[in-house]
């Protein structure tokens, strides 16, 4: 026993040796689930990918994969979509965020909210809208009599650009929102032109945001599953290929190989992004004077036109989905009806209620686990603390489908104790929590940094225990941030698709999966109705929480991230 204590004391900070056993218990309590639900499934999928037909470990699967030209083509396809879509998204997002923060255009809040709309819907809504607008039976072909075909490369390209846009706008907004007016004043005093100021002040100040957004968007696009599934047609990408191998042909090991292949570019992107993001944080000094954008008629007019056009594109696609949800038989009978909301196939409203239950569970579990992980990682300077940090941000590099497939390998086995919850709502919630754990963890870390370390000591000197300090001192300070964290987990849980696609069962389906299945079986208008339902519900919840927070006196709480 004393040997264990001694080991614990060495692992933990020597200054607080007398509380080390309590800290160690907390660290382990947070670390164990993270290892079970992140590290172990990843290990399981890696193991499966090397497992040959004879049950021996080897490169058999990889050899088979990399010698098959059709598989290689899929890799090429993925990059062929992801690279230009990333470039376009970043370009649009930069100008968009620039207009919102550095120009004097009107209706900034409105443009911002519209750009965020894709976040409130499952990732296949863009594809669904494009299909309704530009598909074979789309509005365009029907009205103009053209034979335009959106299925395939261009469909995925446009859908993913729209899907990734809000993520890029969020990051670019954060980078462009903070500006030191003193730098611009100095530049102007030195006679710099507007273009020169942009090149020498604005661009360098936002370069980390730019790099960070680029890699995040790349990860989103290359791992996206919903949009290529709906609109990809014969154009296979890695994410849809995993699904085809696993769900279509029950070829789990090949699915695992493709998962690992998909994991590599995503992981590389995330590693670079993390390195850059750390520098971004240090680039802003405390003495900065906020910049108030000046009116520049010509530039403002151009930017306003651009922003309005982007918003139009976002709304057109989403609007088509909403419109189609009220149409009797797309595109032959366009009379309006509510009958699509009857959901007479695919289990009716059941998947929506399941999603709601799952989202509430994931919200609670996610807030608690991400906050505890952030707390432990911040306060523990030990090997265990660093391991926890690593495991906590690891999911950022793991595509949802890879994690989901890993769960099958890891837990669909009666010998594993986690099998007891396999197929339950809790399992789906845990999968979602750890799928989005990195972002939640980083949000919680930022929230905890608001707490001055001397608060702990002040409370300690006054005789306050751990619980009292947390409950009375820390919690009121971080509460608004925790609400934001909860909203994040809730939103993602309501629209998540790729992580849970392998874990749902016919009896326990989720909303976003239901949309996919409805669309797949040709029930396009019901799929549209289900998507609309999800979007409206998420937006309603968001508005409700925003109003409640305002009423409670909390201002400027960022709920969308």
């Amino acid at each position: 026993m004393s040997a264990v204590r001694g080991f614990a004391a060495r692992l933990l900070s020597p200054a607080r040796a007398h509380t080390s056993s309590k800290n160690l218990a907390l660290t382990i309590a947070v670390l164990v689930p993270a290892l079970v639900f992140v590290a172990y499934p990843l290990w399981a999928i890696l193991h499966q990918s090397f497992l040959g037909a004879d049950g021996q470990l080897g490169f058999e699967n990889y050899t088979r994969y990399f010698t098959d030209p059709s598989f290689l083509k899929v890799i090429g396809n993925s990059f062929a979509v992801a690279l230009p879509a990333t470039a376009l998204t970043i370009g649009i997002a930069y100008v968009f965020a620039y207009a919102l923060h550095r120009s004097a255009i009107a209706l900034k809040r409105l443009w911002y909210v519209i750009a965020m709309v894709p976040l409130f819907a499952p990732s296949l809504v863009q594809a669904l809208g494009l299909q309704l607008l530009l598909g074979r039976n789309g509005l365009l072909n029907r009205t103009l009599g053209t034979e335009f075909d959106i299925y395939g490369y261009w469909g995925i390209f446009i859908a993913d650009t729209l899907y990734a846009l809000p993520h890029a706008v969020l990051i670019m907004s954060a980078a462009l929102a903070v500006a030191d007016a003193r730098l611009y004043e100095s530049a102007r005093m030195l006679g710099a032109s507007d273009w020169r100021m942009f090149r020498t002040v604005t661009l360098p100040a936002t370069r980390y945001g730019l790099v960070s957004a680029t890699f995040i968007v790349f990860t989103i696009v290359i791992t996206d599953f919903g949009n290529p599934m709906v609109i990809g047609g014969d154009y296979g990408v890695l994410a849809t290929e995993i699904y085809n191998q696993v769900s279509g042909q029950a070829n789990f090991r090949l699915g695992a190989v493709i998962g690992i292949v998909l994991l590599v570019p995503a992981a590389v992107a995330v590693v670079i992004e993390r390195r850059v993001a750390r520098r971004q944080a240090a680039a802003i000094t405390a003495g900065a004077v906020p910049l108030v954008p000046e009116r520049q008629r010509a530039l403002d007019a151009v930017l306003l036109g651009f922003v309005a056009l982007v918003c139009l594109a976002v709304l057109a696609v989403v609007g088509m989905v909403v419109y189609a949800s009220f149409v009797r038989l797309w595109p032959y009978n366009l009379t309006l009806t509510l009958s699509n909301y009857d959901f007479d196939v695919q289990g009716g409203y059941e998947p929506f209620l399941t999603s709601l239950k799952m989202a509430l569970t994931a919200t609670i579990v996610g807030v608690v686990m991400a906050t505890l992980a952030a707390y432990v990682a911040q306060n523990s300077r030990t090997g265990l603390g660093r391991l926890l940090y690593f495991i906590s941000i690891l999911p950022a590099a793991v595509p949802g489908m890879v994690l989901g497939l890993g769960y099958i390998f890891a837990f669909n086995d009666p010998a594993n104790p986690v099998y007891a919850i396999y197929g339950t709502i809790l399992m789906l919630a845990l999968n979602t929590v750890y799928h989005y754990h990195a972002q939640g963890f980083l949000t919680a870390t930022t929230a905890l940094k608001q707490i001055d370390s001397t608060f702990d000591e002040a409370s300690e000197m006054l005789g306050g225990g751990f619980l009292r300090t947390f409950w009375q001192v820390h919690l009121p300070i971080i509460l608004p941030s925790l609400v934001g964290l909860g909203v994040f987990f809730f939103m993602r849980s309501m629209v998540t698709l790729s992580g849970v696609i392998f874990l749902v069962t016919p009896g326990r389906n989720l909303a976003a999966v239901s949309v996919l299945l409805l669309d797949d079986s040709g029930e396009t208008t019901q799929a549209a109705a289900f998507s609309t339902l999800i979007m409206l519900f998420v937006i309603a919840v968001l508005v409700g929480i925003q109003i409640t927070l305002r009423a409670a006196g909390f201002r400027d709480v960022r709920l969308i991230r």
């Binding site: 200054a15 040796a17 007398h18 001055d452 001397t454 608060f455 000591e457 002040a458 409370s459 300690e460 000197m461 006054l462 005789g463 306050g464 225990g465 009292r468 009375q472 001192v473 009121p476 300070i477």
Partner: protein, 356 residues
């Protein structure tokens, strides 16, 4: 004797922040830890508080050993430089926090809160939140919060450093008044020698983890034990010199001076440092070249408000610099101007000799 530090040492990795410090503090005494940043004064305070644990030695309160007793259980009050008021609680709740922690009977708490807030003249502000108060008010709330649970010892960690000069002056008096009134044993950490000299019963000067001198403010200023203390507390001229004979030193320019205060047993011929305060440096116009005086030239005269500082360059063999502080009257009577030659007299009773 109430609080005793016995041979206390604290290391942080390779750095030894406090080395073998021993100190006794009497009941009701106000002691200041004074020193430059990094001298170990804050570490020593945190060891007393229980926020850090000494690697060696022990700390006792009365007859009880504090080793192994956590900060939570010591019932010491602490005031931080950054105020550290809980932002989500109003003044009254901040002050009552420790009372709840220490399980005071509920009916006694409002009375105690009012009593202690009256003591710091904040009885009208109970419903305000920290961000609605000025820095000085916040620090008085912090003082009230620390004192409310009737702590055994009051610890102040640079409590006035974040405040502006005027507020600092009034709060200095207020802290001292409250401390005397309650008779509470108090330790204050500061890097501001003026603060230490005006507030403390005794000052502990620290440098590089060790105590240089412990003394009453007048003794500390008038009789610094080491060259470090002489330099750190108040202004001091240091001149290079050699021991001439018992009780006498010779400057490089040939001047031989009688010195009353020896803090070294250096033998004849050995180099020493001669120290004299600017206000003890006498000077007259003219040049007489006597063996017990120094010829110097006025380089610069600086107006300080109530007095002037005169920067001097010594003439002869070696051009050492020193300064004298004179009243406005003295400057006028002597008609001193920059560039003039003066005779400097250094009285033996104000001369200190330290090892090099």
């Amino acid at each position: 004797m109430q609080l005793a530090l016995e041979d206390v040492t604290k290391r942080f990795g390779e750095v030894t922040a406090v080395r073998h410090v021993s100190l006794e503090i009497a009941r009701g005494e106000f002691v200041c830890f004074l020193g430059p940043s990094g001298c170990g004064k804050t570490t020593l305070l945190r060891l007393v508080a229980g926020l850090d644990t000494p690697d060696e030695g022990r700390i006792r309160l009365g007859d009880s050993d504090l080793t192994g007793i956590s900060a939570r259980d010591r019932n010491f009050g602490m005031v931080f430089q950054s105020y550290s008021l809980f932002p989500s609680m109003n003044v009254a709740r901040n002050v009552s926090y420790g009372l709840h922690c220490r399980r005071w009977p509920a009916e006694k708490i409002p009375e105690r809160v009012r009593e202690i807030l009256e003591l710091v003249h904040l009885a009208e502000q109970t419903d305000r939140y920290p961000n609605q108060l000025s820095g000085g008010q916040q620090q008085r709330v912090a003082l009230a919060r620390a004192l409310a649970p009737e702590p055994g010892v009051l610890l102040l960690d640079e409590p006035l450093s974040a405040l502006d000069a005027k507020v600092r002056m009034t709060l200095r008096e207020e802290v001292r008044r409250v401390q005397r009134r309650l008779g509470i044993t108090t330790i204050m950490v500061t890097h501001d020698q003026k603060e230490a000299l005006t507030m403390a019963d005794r000052v502990v000067v620290m440098n590089d983890g060790v105590i240089e001198q412990v003394d009453e403010p007048t003794e500390l200023y008038g009789s610094p034990a080491t060259a470090f203390v002489a330099d750190f507390v108040g202004a001091m001229n240091f001149l290079e010199a050699r021991v001439e004979s018992a009780g006498r030193v010779r400057l490089a320019g040939g001047t031989v001076l009688d010195c009353a205060n020896w803090r070294t047993d250096a033998q004849s011929g050995a180099p020493v440092r001669l120290a004299v305060r600017p206000e003890d440096t006498r000077l007259e116009r003219g040049a007489n070249g006597g063996v017990d005086t120094i010829d110097a030239r006025v380089e610069w005269i600086e107006f300080l408000g109530s007095s002037y500082r005169v920067d001097l360059r010594m003439q002869g063999g070696e051009a050492q610099l020193m300064s004298a502080e004179l009243s406005a009257n003295a400057i006028r009577e002597r008609g001193l101007r920059e560039g003039e030659t003066v005779v400097v007299t250094l009285p033996a009773e104000h001369l200190w000799v330290y090892p090099v």
